[in-house]
């Protein structure tokens, strides 16, 4: 056990949790290194900039280490950490939402044709999501990727269920428009724009 990088790949999830519970910095670093890249994606999905995402990542990991003693292992460690990331990101966004509250947006007609995202790089998808308006970005993440229902989103964000639905609908429409452009580009030039 010379440093955190070595034990990070060798240790089981339970060993990592036990080490972190004792406050051992090497184990904490190992846990961080195991999950930081995945969690960075989560934070980026909810943020507008990389710096903002890193702030959320830092704050959330501190919370993880401070509250891991109370982690009862009813869920997978990754799921638990992701939940902390999402909650921390939402807390950061709430301040902005207080200034610019989410409102019902006009329903939009979704394109009829099927749009595939299989050829689009994840970084591009991330850019598309981050380019969405604040409310749309949060609701889309919570509904489409985290898997929350509109009712749960409404409760969590303090908005009506209708607002959540309309924000999602708007987000989806904007994404599809953007995806259509990308697929046209792909058809024209034969490769994905990365």
């Amino acid at each position: 056990m010379k440093n955190g990088r070595i034990i990070g790949y060798m240790l089981s999830e339970n060993e990592l949790i036990d080490g972190c519970r004792k406050g051992d910095r090497a184990f904490q670093k190992a846990l961080y290194e195991r999950y930081c890249r995945k969690m960075m994606v989560v934070c980026l999905r909810y943020s507008k900039s990389t710096a903002e995402a890193e702030d959320v990542l830092q704050e959330a990991f501190v919370k993880v280490f401070q509250s891991i003693a109370g982690f009862r292992q009813e869920a997978k460690l990754e799921t638990w950490i992701t939940r902390i990331m999402v909650n921390t990101a939402l807390n950061a966004q709430r301040k902005k939402l207080y200034l610019f509250p989410m409102v019902d947006v006009e329903e939009v007609n979704l394109p009829e044709e099927e749009i595939s995202i299989s050829n689009i790089h994840v970084n591009q998808l991330l850019d598309m999501i981050r380019a969405l308006p604040q409310g749309c970005q949060i609701v889309f993440n919570l509904f489409a990727i985290e898997g929350y229902s509109h009712k749960e989103i409404a409760e969590q964000l303090g908005i009506s269920e209708g607002t959540s639905k309309s924000q999602f609908s708007r987000a989806k429409s904007l994404l599809q428009q953007r995806l259509l452009k990308e697929s046209t580009y792909y058809e024209r030039y034969g490769e994905a724009k990365i």
Partner: protein, 499 residues
């Protein structure tokens, strides 16, 4: 687009991000580490504050209990003194009334003699009983006297005290006086009234009144004289009431005295032994290090000023010196552990081995310091301590409260420097010339002990306390002056040899 396709759209996003990974910048972990260390030091500060408050609260509690106990004890003594004094004043009033009524100033001196002699005890009381006041009054005046409370009181006192005190000689004049006074013939004539000066059976010099049981008074009084109906009504005796009160108080005092005597034997819980452990925190406080601010000295300074946790375990024996005072001694094994951040390492002369920067490596410093990234180092000190404390038992019942103060001889064993991260080896330095720590230290101890008796032979004790080294724990040639103040809370199990 139907619902299934819409769901497919959302799932495709979910799948796309399922395995996605993006590396954050290196600074994120550094910031997390800093945040964690800041939080831990805040936690430590809160813990130290908690122990400080606990110790302060214990001391304040002990002092207030001691104060209340002392006040109530003192108050009781004053009350009993006042009661005895007021009873003597009552008697004095009764005596003074007679000569005032009769106007015979000559008799006052005799009465005063008796009054002053009364305080000297039983034998003097007996003597004073022989003092007679011959008061000449005319018939009207005599009748008036007989009908007043004062005269009847004086008379009753005369009878009660003379009759209750068997060995007091009964002067003949008294019989004359009383027979004349209570006789049928009330024609005005010159008569001699023997006013028997109050003769208490005993009056201790402390002011405690020792009277005979009050129920003897009426039986002894009755046969000696008979009073008219008015006189009998006047006889309903405030003095007897007062006597009864005094009697009651006397019994109480006797009971208290007996209790006190029992306590003074202090034969119970005379000798005990205990085993226990304590946990707490220490703070280096105003430690000083006379050295320039190099990378090495910064680390050493952090080591010297670092706060940390302290644990100890050990055995002790205690004995009672008196009713309230106890003496306790024992032997403990104590560790003090603290963390500090170093940003340099010290190499050996051939640069083959490196050690964490610490006070221990101060003599290896010359041109062999290498700066590094900040890393955490743990310093663990071990001592054997021999405490000797005197204690005062404020409360010693089922629940006990004791204030302790004393001295401890601390024998330094070793200190271990453990760099975290694993790239540097830990080093252990025992006592002796190589060590920067003094081999023997002396510490002042102060604390309280809250105990609870379980059965005949056991007490469990919770003792918060302070430990303050009377000298720097570092050798004087290191230029470091540090006397860390330790707050700890101990839990001890006491076995009582003589319950």
């Amino acid at each position: 687009m139907n619902d299934m396709e819409r769901r497919k759209f959302e799932d495709s996003f979910k799948d796309a991000f399922e395995r996605a990974e993006i590396s954050p910048s290196e600074s994120v972990w550094t910031n997390i580490e800093l945040d964690l260390e800041r939080a831990e030091s805040g936690k430590m500060k809160r813990r130290i504050l908690f122990y400080k408050l606990l110790a302060a609260a214990s001391v304040a509690f002990a002092m207030s209990v001691a104060g209340v106990g002392y006040y109530s004890m003192k108050n009781q003594t004053v009350m009993s003194g006042q009661l005895a004094e007021s009873s003597s004043q009552q008697h004095s009033k009764g005596e003074i009334n007679q000569p005032t009524t009769s106007g015979e100033t000559d008799n006052v001196s005799g009465m005063n003699n008796a009054s002053s002699e009364r305080t000297t005890g039983t034998s003097v009381g007996a003597e004073s009983a022989s003092n007679e006041l011959s008061v000449k009054v005319d018939g009207d005046a005599r009748q008036h006297m007989a009908s007043t409370d004062n005269s009847s009181l004086a008379q009753q006192r005369s009878h009660s005290f003379t009759s209750s005190n068997d060995h007091v000689p009964q002067p003949q004049a008294q019989h004359q006086g009383t027979s004349e006074f209570s006789g049928q013939d009330r024609t005005p004539r010159q008569s001699t009234i023997t006013s028997q000066v109050l003769a208490p059976t005993s009056l201790a010099s402390t002011g405690v009144w020792n009277a005979k049981p009050v129920d003897q008074l009426p039986s002894k009084v009755k046969p000696t004289h008979s009073l008219t109906g008015e006189e009998q009504a006047a006889e309903v005796d405030p003095v007897a009431v007062l006597m009864a009160k005094l009697e009651q108080r006397e019994k109480e005092l006797q009971a208290e005295e007996a209790k006190e005597n029992k306590k003074n034997n202090f034969t119970d819980e005379r000798l005990w032994t205990s085993v226990g452990f304590a946990a707490g925190a220490f703070s280096a406080g105003s430690s000083e290090m006379s050295a320039s601010a190099t990378a090495f000295n910064t680390a050493a300074n952090q080591q010297v000023t670092a706060s940390g946790v302290a644990y100890s375990m050990g055995v002790s024996v205690g004995t009672r010196l008196s009713n309230r005072w106890v003496l306790q001694g024992g032997v403990n094994y104590q560790t003090q552990s603290s963390d500090y951040t170093a940003n340099s390492v010290v190499g050996t002369s051939d640069f083959q081995e490196f050690y964490a920067a610490s006070v221990n490596t101060a003599d290896k410093v010359d041109n062999r310091i290498l700066s590094t990234d900040p890393y955490s180092v743990n310093n663990s000190l071990r001592f054997v301590t021999v405490p000797m404390q005197a204690g005062y038992m404020v409360v010693n019942k089922q629940f006990g409260l004791q204030l302790n103060a004393g001295l401890s001889t601390d024998l330094f064993l070793q200190n271990t420097i453990t760099p975290e991260g694993g790239s540097l080896d830990k080093t252990t330095q025992g006592r002796g010339e190589e060590s920067p720590y003094r081999s023997v230290n002396f510490s002042g101890l102060f604390g309280t002990e809250l105990t609870y008796k379980i059965g005949n032979h056991y007490r469990v004790a919770l003792n918060p306390g302070l430990r303050y080294p009377l000298n720097s724990i570092y050798k004087s040639d290191t230029g470091i002056d540090s006397a860390p103040l330790t707050f700890d809370v101990g839990l001890r199990f006491r076995y009582i040899f003589q319950p």
